[in-house]
């Protein structure tokens, strides 16, 4: 049986199952509802076809690719510095973190290593972009569940983080700051002091969210025991990041593998939660933002002096070979597989982005939940459309 007919077969069986399944209370007619591609809850163009029985989901199928921009192909005709500006736009909320694994992979191919100062600044910016990214999730989860205020708090406080990123890199959303062999520039004077103030704000924000969202009984009622992902299922679907840590899997590449950043020199903790439900995912991310704050703080205190750029040729030609580097990005594991033939441009770039795998679990996860829970589960999985479609 070919794959196409296999998929058709499964769709047919799902349809039959949907027809056969009835609500025991009051039989109502099945109905197919398109959530997306234009829907407020998918913040982008994800389409999820759900078959409903009343308000209960019988089958769900995510349809991706409405925003496919062909980055892997585009990267084949871009020089390495140009690719960096391109991949900023994959996960547009934590854009600096996108650059890091690519640059690390290219560095591995070129066999150069960034000087320690560059590594520490990279780590600080990496964690700052994680804060900028996940802070928005913390507020957005509220708005998906109907509370309008948290998301404004999130945008307000994310702005301070973005300002700090802008002060170093010049770009709020698309820093394009990482270079093979180091960083484009050094930190401006006074930045460390300001950033510490911003971190205090973020901590206050986390406290506010803990009260306003996580501590709210309605929020708990909406998220506890909703969308439970057992650890083995999550791993089987290739989930990563906070989504899998919320299922109790103690797995964080920042600690478990040498990513080439300064995380090993910092004192921090990997948060996990045993429940695996929507609430756990929210809670783990909340703790991770706090943890990132302490990490950035330690980075700021411990930045070694020295250059920020290693010796690299002005025109970058990466030697032939292949390398795969993955890092623990805000949304989960992001990896770049670069094949080089020794030219100005990479021969092939494969991007492993976290959201694609995280969303793949939806057909399994959404079966049998109510429509409102579809929204809360999708929100708690936290995907960025650019990270899914690339």
């Amino acid at each position: 049986m070919t794959a196409a007919t296999d998929a058709q077969q499964r769709a047919y069986i799902a349809g039959q199952a949907a027809d056969a399944r009835v609500n025991v209370e009051l039989e109502t007619e099945g109905m197919t509802l398109n959530i997306g591609p234009q829907h407020p809850a998918t913040h982008g163009t994800l389409r999820i076809i759900v078959r409903l029985d009343g308000e209960r989901v019988v089958a769900a199928e995510p349809v991706m690719g409405y925003m496919h921009r062909g980055y892997e192909k585009l990267a084949e005709v871009r020089t390495y510095p140009q690719v960096t500006t391109l991949i900023n736009r994959i996960d547009w909320l934590g854009s600096f973190a996108n650059e890091v694994p690519f640059i690390l992979a290219a560095e591995r191919l070129m066999e150069v290593e960034a000087p320690p100062r560059a590594k520490w600044i990279r780590t600080a910016l990496f964690e700052l972009s994680r804060i900028a990214n996940v802070v928005l999730f913390l507020g957005d989860m509220g708005v998906q569940l109907g509370a309008v205020t948290p998301v404004f708090f999130a945008f307000r406080d994310r702005e301070f983080v973005l300002n700090q990123i802008e002060a170093v890199t010049g770009g709020r959303f698309h820093p394009n700051f990482d270079r093979i062999g180091g960083l484009k520039d050094d930190l401006p004077k006074g930045w460390i002091e300001e950033t510490k103030g911003v971190l205090d704000r973020i901590r206050t924000f986390c406290d506010e969210m803990e009260v306003l969202v996580a501590g709210n009984e309605i929020f708990e009622a909406r998220t506890r025991n909703i969308g439970v992902i057992p650890a083995d299922v999550g791993l089987a679907y290739g989930m990563s990041g906070a989504n899998i840590r919320a299922s109790g899997v103690d797995w964080d590449l920042r600690r478990d593998s040498d990513m080439g950043l300064a995380h090993g020199d910092l004192d921090w903790k990997v948060w996990t939660h045993p429940d695996g439900d929507s609430f756990a995912r929210y809670w783990v991310r909340l703790q991770e933002v706090r943890e990132s704050c302490t990490m950035v703080e330690q980075c700021l205190d411990g930045i070694p002096s020295g250059p920020v750029m290693a010796k690299v040729p002005r025109i970058i030609k990466v030697p032939a070979g292949e390398a795969y580097v993955e890092t623990e990005n805000p949304l989960g594991i992001m990896g770049y597989y670069i094949v080089s033939k020794g030219e100005l441009v990479p021969y092939r770039v494969k991007i492993r982005s976290a959201s694609f795998n995280n969303v793949s679990i939806t057909p399994w996860l959404l079966e049998g939940v109510y429509v409102p829970d579809v929204i809360s589960i999708l929100a708690s999985l936290y995907f960025i459309l650019g990270d899914i479609d690339r």
Binding site: V22, V24, E25, L26, E27, T28, E29, M31
Partner: protein, 178 residues
């Protein structure tokens, strides 16, 4: 409501005219809506025509000085029964589409029966209550209705409550599928 307010401000002669005009409007609207209700092919439209008829009936009750009944009519009929109808129609989406009209013969018989009923009851009514007039000075008091329900009509009241309970349970038992 307008007719009610008129009680004090209008002279009695004017009141009667105003009441008759109000009645005329209500009656025409009700009958037209009722006719459309039984003839329309769209079930949802039929339910909405029913709303008009019921609202008109509430108006008639108020015209007759039976405020409490009028308000109850709005609360129970429009607020609950019609909503129940609409809800039922929308839940069974098979009933949403166009309803097919009954065959000609059946319709003809129904018209015949309807006209017969109208002629017989109308004739009887005209014959018996030739010139009896409705002349209630003021709307009936709600307190009075309450008193009589809980004294004189306490047994039927209790019976109705039991009936409601039985209907509630019955509806659940019928509609539930185990």
């Amino acid at each position: 409501m307008a007719a009610l307010q008129g009680f004090d401000s209008l002279t009695s002669g004017d009141t009667v005219v105003a009441q008759n005009i109000a009645f005329g409007i209500l009656a025409v609207v009700m009958i037209v809506a009722a006719l459309r209700m039984v003839t329309t092919l769209n079930v949802v439209h039929a339910a909405l025509y029913l709303v008009i008829v019921l609202a008109g009936a509430a108006g008639i009750f108020i015209l007759l000085g039976a405020e409490f009944v009028g308000v109850t009519q709005v609360l129970v009929y429009i607020g609950a029964i019609v909503v129940l109808f609409l809800f039922g129609i929308m839940l069974t989406r098979g009933a949403l589409g166009e309803d097919e009209e009954a065959n000609i013969e059946k319709r003809r018989m129904a018209v015949l029966v309807g006209v017969l009923v109208l002629v017989v009851t109308g004739g009887a009514v005209l014959d018996s209550f030739g010139d009896a007039a409705v002349n209630r000075a003021a709307p009936s008091l709600t307190a009075e209705i309450g008193d009589s329900i809980f004294s004189q009509y306490i047994v039927p009241f209790e019976a109705v409550s039991v009936l409601l309970l039985a209907a509630l349970i019955g509806a659940i038992v019928i509609a539930r599928k185990d």
